[in-house]
Amino acid sequence: MRLINRRPGRVLTAFLAALPFVLVMLAYMVGSDIRLAENPSDKLMPAPAQIAATAERLLTEPDRRSGRILFWYDTAVSLKRLAIGVGLAASTGLIFGLLIGLLPHIRATFSGFVAVISMVPPLALLPILFIVFGLGELSKVVLIVIGITPFLIRDLSQRTLEIPREQIVKAETLGASTFTIALRVALPQVLPRLIQSVRLSLGPAWLFLIAAEAIASDLGLGYRIFLVRRYLAMDVILTYVIWITLLAFMIDWALKVLARRAFPWTGASL
């Protein structure tokens, strides 16, 4: 039987899915063991037990100076920045995507411009953002917006253009105006795509958020990681990295569920 036709059973599927995680953890534990056996005060690969202890301390003990649990505070601040940035980018992307996709004049004006703008590396603009918008919240949000909006606009305008011409013509023969076509034909069909595009751009969004927080901030997940780097506090860094990964994964999963619930007509195509 050909390999392409051999399928794992249910138990084997679960086992195979878990395998890479287990292997990575094993490799870490072995590596950590070897290093700690040689030098008990090694800081590069703390033992899993130590990471767990640190995580517990971070999650429950308040900061002695401010009295706040910094872990949750960092999370809230970072998530707020991410939400505002991604929200702004998504609304801009949706509006411009629809306009570029539907209106030939807007398309002629902006499609080339957006294609060029999307090639500007956002991180190279970061110094400009700090100079123009200061070191406060605004520059971090703006970095996320600048970073992912061009991608969203390009993707959504493409999706709008991909709506079959037949449907648009059909709507015209039913007497729909341009606005009605945008509202009742294009928008509902682009919304599920918006969620997909946002899912894809969440990776870059996190990247820009952490980069901005690492360089200039006094709160946030990225700031904390780069702060404790100075003390080689690998246990803290790893806790934060695992937490960020978990957050990103949960947001992605939530968006996937939302898309399936909110747009039942898309069926299995997403």
Partner: protein, 255 residues
């Protein structure tokens, strides 16, 4: 003055002629089947009728009105695919035939309830009442095309354009769609243009069958000339015209 008048219609894309010198008069209520080989401009002609494109020369008038510059409510259309809105339920698709002229493309309150009631009547007539709340993707090809026709008719167009509407259906479904279309036509008395690949279908449904072909052919440059209407058959009475005796006196009538 006939209902649909096509006068000296030419269409070319980038200097390459597709259609040449097309003249056609169609009476109200006629069913015109359009047949011809692939790439002979049938679909281009339908797009011109639809006013989706503008002809290079000549014009198309419906009931003597000025030539249309974009598709509108006086022309209904059903394509081979993608004719219904996938994000609306079957019932909403029918309602859309009325509500798209509203400012927000929707009905509200009492008008909405009345529209839903009308839609349910339409669905009962076209035999889709049992799937009113389903999405089109879950329907069979024949049901989707029935929905598309019902939706187009909801807008009460002056002419109905069908672009190979049954081309993607299996033979059995196609036959039942023929009956469905014949019935609907008997009820509404619509003027219909149907592009089809299937000659039998064209003659079965149409009152007239017009054939598109290239009258001139340059073997060294096949694209030098465009197509025009080369035959215009009377397809009534099973394609054998002049069978109805019109004389009243001195005629021996069959018993």
């Amino acid at each position: 003055m006939s209902f649909v008048t096509v006068r000296d219609l030419f269409q070319s894309y980038g200097g390459r002629p597709i259609l040449e010198r097309i003249n056609l008069e169609v009476e109200e209520g006629e069913f015109v089947s359009i047949v011809g080989a692939s790439g002979c401009g049938k679909s281009t002609f339908l797009r011109l009728l639809l006013a989706e494109e503008q002809p290079s020369r000549g014009d198309i008038r419906i009931a003597g009105a000025e030539p249309a510059r974009e598709p509108g409510r006086e022309r209904g259309v059903v394509f081979q695919r993608y004719s219904v809105f996938p994000h609306m339920t079957v019932r909403e698709n029918i309602v859309a035939g009325d509500s798209f002229t509203r400012p927000l493309g929707r009905f509200f309150g009492a008008a909405r309830r009345a529209a839903l009631r009308r839609a349910d009547e339409t669905l009962a007539r076209i035999g889709l009442a049992h799937v009113a709340d389903a999405y089109p993707a879950t329907l069979s090809g024949g049901m989707q095309q029935r929905l598309a026709i019902g939706q187009a008719l909801t807008a009460r167009p002056r002419i109905l354009l069908l672009d190979e509407p049954f081309g993607a259906l299996d033979p059995g479904t196609r036959l039942s769609m023929h009956d469905f279309l014949t019935e609907l036509r008997a009820q509404t008395g619509m003027t219909v243009f149907m592009v089809t690949h299937d000659l039998e279908e064209g003659f079965k449904l149409g009152d007239r069958v017009i054939v598109f072909d290239k009258p001139r052919w340059d073997p060294t440059d096949p694209e030098a000339y465009g197509a025009t209407i080369t035959y215009d058959f009377d397809a009534r009475n099973g394609g054998i015209p002049f069978q109805t005796i019109k004389e009243e006196t001195h005629v021996l009538r069959p018993a």
